[in-house]
Amino acid sequence: MAFAFEFFLRRLSQGVVIVVLVAFVIFTLLRVVPGDPIRIILGPMTPASVLEETARALGLRDPILVQFGRFMGEVATGDLGRSFIRGLQGGSAGGSQDVAGYSPESRASVAGLIATALPYSLQLAGLGVAFALLVAFPIGIAAGLRAGRWPDRLGLYASSFFVSLPNIWVAVVLIFLLSAKAGLLPAIGYQGFAYTIIPAMVLAIELSPVMIRAISVAVAANLGEAYYDAGIVRGLSRRTMVARHVLRNAAVPLLNLFGAQMIGMLLGGLFVVEYIFSYPGIGMLTISAVFQRDFPVIQAVAILASGVLVAINMLVDFASTMIDRRLKF
């Protein structure tokens, strides 16, 4: 218990620092790159003096550290700010140009926007990971158990093949074949669960090669461990050794992989896939925010993403240390 308490105390405090740093990096980045948000907020035809005045009134001309401090203060109270662009109803809106009438209250809250988009992304990510596991587990375990034999080759070929397919291209090909040609599934936008299937397949194709490789390597490595052979000579059946011990030990590197690499890949994949499929999730929200220079949304998504990554890493590491007590943290 003491261990778990110290673990979480330590990791949570580190995690908070990391998230704050990420927030700072993104925050700074967004304010040093060319592109003035006030032009977006107020529209192109606004006179320069009005631009400056409003920008100053909104605090956009304060030093970055001051702005960041104010922002983090709001985040700490659970307020992720309001969109520059989107209206109260959450619908995408063109930038208002009414200088006098501009008030942040007329814009959608970022938290609300994320809350609306998140379930869609979770559904897509869930289905994608499920598909990937469905493919990767049998192939990966078979490849690991029969290293050097045909299932191993199959694993190598499958992972090399899948990893060589750029997701943008796979997406287009799948839309072309499954939706446009065969008419089996709908593709663009979202009007029901069926709209998740093709995007999820694209995600799965992106994720599965890493899983196949990792699973087969982890399983094969554990078969090479002394305890495996020793267990069989001790009188335990091969099946017992694989089911009770090899998979348990293989879970440690796999958990780490899923924590460190997979979540990052998944997030990246979500962005691209949602963009291609006009799927109304977080990725779509963020990409349009970037193109619209809707900084509050970008910041919030970046913080959320890093928070999720940090949290998942923490949980994964905790699970790993629970499985393998030798691990330090």
């Binding site: 261990f3 110290e6 267990g231 069989i232 000579v233 007590r325 030798r326």
Partner: protein, 634 residues
């Protein structure tokens, strides 16, 4: 005692018969034989020893006995008959039914034999339930805890829930013996089970195995590369040389009158500590070059059971000694005694927390930059592992030349010639200059290592287990080399080792370490012939030899394991295992009291005369052995 005891009568049919067994390894250039036409017979309840040097195929043989030959190895001929069946022809399912039930196997590496992520007890229960179907888990658990207790594993109920990495090697090996015998098998194959263990622990394991073997009436095939160990347990011994059985005799007969030339060679190679050959150098009487004064080193480790807490590992606790010019000084002790830490301190890789290390009067901890570099030139350390001590990616010549480059001692154009000289001196072929070390043998690697140190022409060499990975012949050659260098250059050596036989051969004075301190420091003869500390005696009693020892194993056998250096008990740190401990030992920590010149002394409350009398060694010892003086009376 197996030695000299009459063979066990064996009226019954043999338990296992191996006939004409040949195993080959598949290599790129075709099959190469590993075992050729091996035949042997295992009688019920008997202990059959198999002795062979590394590479003789004894591990392959042990695995063949449980039909555990995996590619690239393959059985090319022969049978292993057990209970009327040829195991090698059995289907995998039948074989699986025999393994662990009727035929048990214990390997050389106890710490990696169990799943590192599951508590030890649970794995023993799992095995028990697997081999005895129908056992209730609760019963199985009770039985495992009981047997753990029976093999003297302390607080077994707590240990049941601990993980393999929390077990020491000796404890793990005991647990695995429990694991093997819990199903009451008819045959136990024990492959080199004492190899990774310290001598005192190995002696315990050996005794335990012998007891259990008697109790369970199990036949044992005991495989080892140490004749001294096999001779202590086996009824009959098979000698294996390069895959062939060269001799098979009852143990006593084999030792007394070996018939085959190889057997004789093998017996001759067993180091003698008390009998014969050793001609240790006399203690030097020159100026002191190294003066270690009350050195202490403590590490902090994180404590998992408390919040933000650390625990202090006291690795070296107040060690003092001196080394004279041209002297051979040795530090011996078992794993965890602090000798590795001491070597790091001596080589100036770490600074002591307290105390001083003076090299020719200069405290090396205070040196830095150029001075430290100059010191390093005169003061070299040779490391224990010849495989890791040289970088795999540099050519041999470059590795040896590196110190010269760093110290800028030799002009670039003379570099090669200088390196070649040193290579010749240590016996490395000049052709190796541009080779990578990948193909080198352990001996060759150690020579590269030595050459690299010698190229700087140091005044003192610290040899940290330098020779322990080498076989006897190779070891002897290098010791000769060191001796010649010493004569020529007056180098001082500090040997840090667990190998008593080697220390016996080369060093003038010996310090014995236990739990971070020196418990006894003595001249060579005095230490071996008249050891005055109970731990030294225990250590000497546990050495596997083929000689008669002055310290009977039964008298000095230690119980348990060395305590954790984190929780060093108050009082004498050895008292928890000491057969002679008394009241005062629990409260007062004895200091190392000098009883002779050059720091000779012991740290014990017992008077040396209180200890059991020393059995005089069989072979006479030359004079000059310094009689250890008794410690002061309490």
């Amino acid at each position: 005692m197996a030695l000299g005891s009459p063979p066990v009568p064996r009226p019954e049919a043999p338990l296992m018969e191996v006939r004409g067994l040949s195993v080959a390894v598949q290599t790129a250039s075709g099959p190469r034989p590993v075992l050729e036409g091996v035949s042997l017979t295992v009688a019920p309840r008997a202990v059959l020893g198999i002795i062979g040097e590394s590479g003789s195929g004894k591990t392959v043989l042990s695995r063949a006995l449980v039909n555990w030959i995996r590619p690239p190895l393959a059985v090319t001929a022969g049978t292993v008959r057990y209970g009327g069946e040829d195991l090698l022809a059995l289907p995998e399912a039948r074989m699986a039914a025999l393994r662990g039930r009727e035929i048990a196997y214990i390997g050389a590496n106890p710490t990696s034999a169990l799943d590192p992520t599951v508590p030890v007890g649970h794995q023993l229960v799992e095995k028990l339930c697997a081999v005895l179907p129908g056992t209730a888990r609760r019963d199985a658990r009770a039985r495992v805890v009981a047997t753990l207790d029976a093999v003297r594993i302390p607080s077994p109920a707590k240990r049941f829930e601990e993980y393999p990495f929390q077990f020491s090697g000796g404890m793990m090996q005991r647990a695995l013996i429990v694991d093997a015998l819990v199903s009451n098998p008819r045959l136990l194959i024990a492959d080199n089970i004492t190899q990774p263990l310290d001598v005192t622990v190995a002696a315990q394991i050996l005794r335990l195995l012998r007891e259990l073997q008697k109790e369970f009436a199990t036949a044992v095939v005991f495989i080892s590369s140490a004749l001294g160990i096999v001779s202590e347990i086996a009824d009959d011994v098979i000698v294996l040389d390069r895959g062939r059985v060269v001799e098979e005799r009852p143990t006593g007969a084999l030792l007394r009158s070996p018939e085959h030339a190889y057997t004789r060679e093998l017996i001759a190679k067993v180091p003698r500590i008390w009998s014969g050959a050793a001609r240790p150098p006399p203690p030097a009487d020159t100026d002191v070059v190294l003066d270690v004064r009350d050195v202490e080193r403590t590490y902090e480790v994180r404590d998992r059971s408390a919040i933000f807490a650390t625990r202090r590992v006291r690795a070296v606790r107040g060690v003092s000694f001196t080394v004279r010019r041209g002297e051979n000084f040795a530090i011996i002790g078992e794993s965890g005694c602090g000798k590795s830490t001491l070597s790091r301190l001596l080589s100036c890789l770490e600074a002591p927390d307290r105390g001083q290390i003076l090299f020719q009067g200069t405290d090396i901890a205070t040196l830095g930059g150029r001075d430290l570099l100059a010191l390093r030139r005169r003061f070299q350390l040779l490391l224990q592992d010849p495989y890791n001590a040289i970088a795999a990616h540099s050519a041999i010549g470059a590795t040896i030349a590196e110190p010269l480059r760093i110290h800028g001692l030799v002009p670039r154009r003379h570099l090669r010639a200088r390196v070649a000289e040193v290579m010749a001196e240590v016996g490395l072929a000049p052709a190796l200059y541009d080779q990578l070390p990948a193909g080198l043998s352990a001996g060759q690697r150690q020579r590269v290592n030595i050459a690299r140190a010698l190229v700087l022409e140091p005044e003192m060499l610290i040899l940290d287990e330098t020779l322990s990975a080498l076989d006897q012949v190779e070891q002897a050659k290098l010791l000769d080399l060191f001796e010649r260098l010493q004569t020529r250059r007056g180098i001082s050596y500090v040997y840090i080792s667990h190998d008593l036989a080697m220390v016996r051969r080369v060093s003038a004075r010996i310090a014995v370490m236990y739990l971070g301190r020196i418990v006894e420091l003595s001249g060579n003869h005095a230490l071996f012939a008249r050891a005055s500390h109970p731990y030294t005696r225990a250590l000497l009693s546990a050495v596997p030899t083929v000689e008669d020892k002055p310290y009977p194993t039964a008298t000095y056998l230690l119980e348990g394991e060395p305590p954790d250096p984190i929780d060093i008990p108050p009082g004498c740190s050895f008292r928890t295992r000491c057969p002679f401990a008394f009241g005062r030992c629990a409260t007062d920590d004895p200091a190392l009291l000098a009883t002779g010149p050059d720091g000779v002394g012991r740290a014990c409350h017992r008077d040396a005369d209180d200890l059991p009398a020393v059995v005089p060694p069989a072979a006479g010892q030359g004079g000059g052995a310094r009689q250890a003086e008794g410690a002061e009376a309490p």
